[in-house]
Amino acid sequence: GAGVSQSPSNKVTEKGKDVELRCDPISGHTALYWYRQRLGQGLEFLIYFQGNSAPDKSGLPSDRFSAERTGESVSTLTIQRTQQEDSAVYLCASSSTELDYEQYFGPGTRLTVT
């Protein structure tokens, strides 16, 4: 079946603009994660959704970052008033349940803030 997909694959935006990144998890996966990966670095956890439970937002770096997920489907990560330090690859991952730690990653969205 289809894996995790993300769109757009690349996004260039001007400082101060808002951006919205989309993630389509694997069908049936109840858990969804967003990560940020800066150039040459590891992944930083941003936010976690599990079913209809309240999301774990503990990794969001500032209030400019927010994410939504409707049920067990698509998720969007929104960054408001983008800054140059927001430039990174944003990765989405899903897993079948909250007990399944094996995460399946999408290809990521490369965000460049000019």
Binding site: Y35, G40, G42, L43, F45, L91, A93, Y101, G108
Partner: protein, 112 residues
């Protein structure tokens, strides 16, 4: 604070040799450890995982070793192939914490 890190940022090996990628972690409460492979332009791909109640787990050409005494995790790749060239990340988490913490990664280059 707690962190996951790697001993070496780069590793170069000859095709056919065995590779060992190391990872140190500091959170003694970690329950689960995982290795990911990330090729250029792609998302991380699961390789192998291990729970804290184990010290060794084998997959196809890969073995993960966990030494909880010194908080050390390693990934061994047998008969390394050019297709193994990638960045390898270790990650860890606690069962009651959604935060999967990743190390910075080791770039493995396989020379033909």
């Amino acid at each position: 604070g707690e962190s996951v890190g790697l001993h070496l940022p780069t590793l170069s090996v000859q095709e056919g040799d065995n590779s060992i990628i190391n990872c140190a972690y500091s959170n003694s409460a970690s329950d689960y450890f995982i290795w990911y492979k990330q090729e250029s332009g792609k998302g991380p791909q699961f390789i192998i995982d291990i729970r804290s109640n184990m010290d060794k787990r084998q997959g196809q050409r890969v073995t993960v070793l966990l030494n909880k005494t010194v908080k050390h995790l390693s990934l061994q790749i047998a008969a390394t192939q050019p297709g193994d060239s990638a960045v390898y990340f270790c990650a860890e988490r606690e069962d009651n914490n959604n935060d999967m913490r990743f190390g910075a990664g080791t770039r493995l280059t396989v020379k033909p």
